[in-house]
């Protein structure tokens, strides 16, 4: 399944070193369109570093990143976002003093090049506002549309993180631990939203939570010490004894 369609996102020998520590080690990876791909690995495996490299938050030490076949290795965060790469953050990066509606509008305005409009009031593009409201409704946030983001429950803030990324209509979406820190009672909401993401969006899910990974991902990469340890379908990974060992090994250390 990896050879047939042209990959939307590829990395070639991607490497990131912080001083003497190699956080991402020679990762060559490709993501087909419409993928449901999970990136897993023990703590400190370099998952978030990898996402930061893909999204441009961190510059790569060496290697290349291709988005739709275009080398974007030296592109800024902003240019990659404009080219269709969206991401969420493991720790919420939201606007506590704005409302969810305003937050989504910020993203839609950028996508539609409407944000340079300085003379017309914000609500005058009702098509964009309606789109923002519809997106919030889709993510069960319609009732909180005008609330202060900082006053929302944590699970709903996580949903808003995803909503912002969706508002830019991305081709590739990087979800960095979408359910991290979400209390049990609100978890299902987040999982449902992740499961219902548009099929044409290629997805990379970074997750610790194996429930979520196995429920949701079709293919999985395991990252250990910054390097790709093993790649395969969900079932292959589930059966792979080496993967089990990596995780069990970690557990033994954690308990010992």
């Amino acid at each position: 399944m990896s050879e047939a369609p042209k990959p939307v996102l590829e990395t070639c020998a991607l490497r990131k070193a912080f001083g003497g520590i190699t956080a991402t080690d020679n990762v060559t990876f490709s993501l087909p369109p419409g993928a449901r791909h999970a990136l897993i690995g023990p703590n400190g495996a370099g998952k978030t570093t990898f996402v930061n490299l893909l999204s441009g938050v961190l510059p790569a030490t060496s290697g290349e990143i291709y988005l739709n076949g275009v080398n974007v290795t030296n592109w800024s965060v902003r240019d990659r976002a404009r080219a269709g790469l969206a991401r969420t953050f493991q720790i919420n990066q939201l606007y506590a003093d704005l409302s969810p509606l305003e937050t989504i509008l910020i993203a839609i305005n950028e996508r539609e090049n409407a944000a340079t409009s300085w003379f017309r009031p914000l609500g005058s593009r009702s098509d964009l506002v309606d789109e923002a409201a519809a997106l919030l409704a889709q993510l069960n946030l319609a009732d909180a549309m005008h609330a202060r983001v900082g006053s929302l429950a944590y699970g709903r803030q996580r949903l808003l993180e995803i909503a912002i990324a969706l508002a830019s209509k991305p081709q590739v979406l990087l979800l960095d631990e979408p359910a991290a820190g979400v209390p049990e009672g609100e978890r299902d909401q987040v999982l449902d939203v992740v499961a219902a993401l548009p099929a044409d969006v290629s997805l990379i899910l970074i997750e610790h939570d194996m429930d979520l990974v196995f429920r949701f991902a079709k293919t999985i990469s395991v990252l250990v010490n910054g390097a790709l340890f093993v790649e395969g379908t969900r079932d292959e990974i589930a059966r792979d004894p080496r993967v089990r060992q990596v995780y069990l090994g970690e557990e033994e250390i954690a308990h010992g």
């Binding site: 506590a96 704005l98 609500g123």
Partner: protein, 337 residues
């Protein structure tokens, strides 16, 4: 009160930006002060001008989150640009035309703002504070040293603007100055109000709130910051030009460091991020200065310092923040009973 809020979010957003009664009351009060305090017209004109300068800082600080301690540079450059136009135009149109003078003042200050905006794109708040302060000190020194052009420490003598629109000449009592300053301030304020209520204004709030998030949304953060810094510098320049034209004089005092500091203080007094904070802060600041200055001139700074400390420590958002908190308390009481 709120029309169709859940079903028509666009309408709700528009409704939120309409002119409120208290805004109209504010401007009506500003205009009627002409009749209430006929002997204080020069002071009131100066309040408008200081208020406009503080509003321009609000654009960068209150909306885009750019800390600046150098807005006085743009104010001063505008003041001298307008002064030189009026001086060499020798009191006759077209060169001494005050509106042309403001246009030049705004353009020159805006150009300086554009050039120096690239210095504030990097670094932390402290870096920005120091960079803007440094630029202001450089401009101050250039203005005082270029004696042949600016008159050095003696100031620019012989500033004579021609009558406004060729009809209203600046009089000794400051009547023309009052209306001229009020109308220019209002027009600039109206412009700023449109700006912050637009999509562009919202994107500034996004940058202030979280630049990394703004970038990952695809926002050209630096371009926006350059734009707002340039716009704010232009408005500062216009306010500087206004002061020169209404007082018929430009002095190194207008580029001095204390301009930047006072303007920032005024904004913090009034409350940043509301646009009206600068105007209300200017009223309170100058009235306090006038009032306390009459009683105990030597302790003026003591009282300014005390008010500043109390406001910053105990009230979020200055005077406007205080008024909003009071209003909330009252409306909550109203709901309870």
């Amino acid at each position: 009160m709120i029309p169709d809020s859940p079903n028509k979010p666009a309408g709700w957003l528009l409704w939120r930006t309409r002119w409120r009664w208290y805004e109209l009351a504010f401007w009506a009060a500003a205009a009627s002060s002409f009749f209430i305090f006929p002997s204080k017209l020069m002071l009131i004109s100066e309040i408008f001008i200081l208020g406009l300068l503080a509003v321009s800082i609000d654009l960068t600080l209150g909306f885009a989150g750019l800390v600046t301690l150098g807005q006085g540079a743009f104010f001063g450059v505008g003041a001298y640009a307008a002064g030189l136009m009026a001086k060499y135009g020798a009191g006759t149109a077209p060169f001494s035309d005050p509106l042309l003078g403001l246009l030049v003042a705004g353009s020159v200050a805006g150009a300086l703002g554009f050039v120096t905006s690239f210095l504030v794109l990097r670094g932390s708040d402290l870096t920005r504070l120091m960079v803007t302060l440094g630029v202001a000190l450089i401009v101050e020194e250039i203005v005082t040293q270029a004696k042949d052009i600016t008159g050095g420490s003696d100031g620019l003598q012989g500033v004579m603007s021609s009558p406004v629109l060729g009809v209203w000449s600046f009089d000794l009592y400051g009547r023309t100055a009052f209306w001229y300053a009020l109308i220019v301030t209002f027009v600039c304020f109206w412009f700023c109000r449109r700006l912050v209520n637009s999509s562009f204004g919202l994107s500034l709030l996004a940058i202030k709130g979280n630049p990394l998030r703004a970038r990952t949304i695809g926002m050209p953060v630096n371009t926006r910051l350059v734009a707002i810094y340039t716009i704010a510098a232009t408005i500062s320049g216009i306010s500087g030009g206004l002061l020169t034209q209404t007082t018929q004089f430009a002095s190194p005092d207008m580029v001095a460091f204390h301009r930047s500091a006072d303007a920032l203080l005024i904004l913090v007094f009034g409350g940043s991020g509301f646009l009206y904070g600068g105007l209300i802060g200017a009223v309170v600041f100058r009235v306090m200065q006038d009032f306390i200055g009459n009683i105990t001139p030597q302790y003026w700074l003591f009282w300014v310092g005390l008010v500043l400390v109390l406001l910053v420590l105990f009230v979020r958002g200055g005077i406007i923040g205080m008024l909003m908190a009071l209003r909330e308390r009252f409306s909550r009481k109203g709901e309870g009973s």
